[in-house]
């Protein structure tokens, strides 16, 4: 049986769906308008056990298979309208906690994972800078070795959860070259002297989570807070973005499942020219395309999720992760464009789910590798001399 047909998967999805409909609906439309985030909900989802899912049992985690996490993400997304929130909480689990679990020392894991799992702490991913987006090596943040510590300086921009995160995985240059060993990853506590929260950004989508700047001004980071090894930042960066590419994209599935139900219902009940609009082939073919996009996206994600072990490296799946990210992102955007069109003017109103999901979907082609740079990765991994 394929994982996307497994009744066990359906049960988990259902469990999270019910939890989300009971606890996470309500004020989302208002928060989407205001660009507001709910810390209360973060704690509720953490209490429900979501942030434990992939984590090792010996640190208090649930250590479930990766396909079970995908099912939970699907359920959360289908049962709530909170695209930004779901993106951020899944990002903490896939991009940050998993990275700490794979590369962190036992000391870092026992000190930080329990609070991240319980929702007491919140983490952010500090990679992007004004000078460095797709090109990691043009980063300007530096960490200079001084005795038992590194002195970290630099400004990280466009960081999800930045305004309230108390823990940050920061990437900085420990060598001025463009060598693959020039980057190092550090776990930085925002309470440390010299670490401050900078400006906030107002964005068009994923508005139920906030984004901001993080400033590090000569922060003393103990060597024990290196994630991986000095010079091993590239491996940490690659691994964490691979998890985002392969698994965080599952946050597209809930909105697609929810949108599909609404759109099918709408095309059967909205009459024009004395017929349900679903009787017009140009409308019904939109629904057919939406079903294809949704089902194939699910299969692509479950396929890769079923091939990766909990806490294991995704390196061998680098090309498949890039393919999954491009495929799902592209289909998510096209799906939401169709959903909006099916609703006509009602889809264009700020109260419509379709416009909110469409705005959210547009970010998928940017975070964790843009659609363009991922195509470069696929071609490079096939041996082409792409720059």
């Amino acid at each position: 049986m394929q994982p996307w047909q497994d009744p066990e998967i359906d049960k988990i999805r259902e469990k999270y769906y019910e939890f989300a409909t009971e606890n996470l609906l309500g004020d989302t439309e208002q928060r989407d308008k205001e660009g507001d985030f709910s810390i209360k909900r973060w704690k509720e989802v953490a209490e429900f056990g979501f942030l434990k899912l992939l984590m090792p049992e010996n640190f208090g985690g649930a250590e479930v298979p990766v396909t079970h996490l995908v099912a939970a993400i699907e359920g959360l997304g289908e049962g709530s309208m909170d695209g930004g929130f779901n993106y951020a909480i899944c990002n903490q689990l896939c991009g940050l906690q998993t990275t700490i679990n794979i590369f962190g020392s036992d000391e870092l894991k026992s000190r930080y994972l329990p609070d991240l799992m319980s929702g007491k702490s919140m983490a952010a991913y500090g990679f992007t800078e004004e000078t460095s987006g797709s090109d990691a090596y043009s980063m300007e943040a530096t960490a200079v070795e001084e005795g038992d510590a590194f002195r970290l300086s630099g400004t990280k921009c466009y960081i999800t959860n930045a305004p309230y995160a108390n823990l940050v995985l920061v990437f900085a240059k420990t060598s001025p070259t463009r060598s693959p060993f020039a980057l190092t990853a550090f776990l930085v506590d925002m309470e440390w002297e010299g670490a401050t929260h900078g400006r906030e950004y107002d964005k068009m989508g994923l508005r139920t989570v906030r984004m901001g700047e993080l400033i590090f001004d000569n922060v003393q980071v103990p060597k024990s807070h290196i994630v991986g090894v000095k010079g091993g930042g590239l491996r940490v960066l690659t691994e964490s973005t691979l998890w985002e590419r392969a698994i965080l994209i599952a946050t597209a599935l809930g909105p697609m499942a929810r949108g599909l139900k609404s759109c099918i219902e709408r095309t059967k009940t909205r009459n024009q020219f004395e017929k349900p609009i679903g009787a017009f082939q140009q409308v019904s073919s939109k629904i057919s395309n939406m079903i294809m996009r949704y089902k194939l996206s699910r299969q692509v994600i479950y396929d890769i999720a079923s091939r990766i072990g909990n806490g294991s490296s995704l390196q061998p799946h680098a090309q498949d992760a890039a393919i999954a990210k491009i495929f799902v992102s592209d289909n998510f955007v096209k799906f939401e464009l169709d959903a909006m069109q099916i609703y006509g003017v009602r889809g264009y109103l700020l109260e419509s789910f379709a416009q909110q999901d469409l705005r959210d979907s547009l970010s998928f082609n940017i975070w964790a590798g843009t659609a363009e740079t991922l195509r470069n990765t696929i071609a490079k991994l096939a041996g082409l001399p792409v720059e």
Binding site: P180, G228, L234, R235, Q315, P316, L381
Partner: protein, 82 residues
Amino acid sequence: MNVKESIKNYILSELVSDKENSSLSETDQLIESGIIDSLGIMKLIGFLEDNLSVQIDDMELVPENFASIAAITSLVEKKLSD
């Protein structure tokens, strides 16, 4: 094929894009000269782990171990004999 030859063949066939480097010597500097870039190093580690049955630990991910074909070979041979 011995370890050194497998590594050299892999680098030449998969990581070197211009023909000028087809006569790569075992002491040529791979990282410093940019022959192996960031994606290249990840591919190379995948190759070593899958084809030469060694597990590269994070602690071994240092420039010295990947500086040249000779350095990579000695890392792999040391791990195979451990």
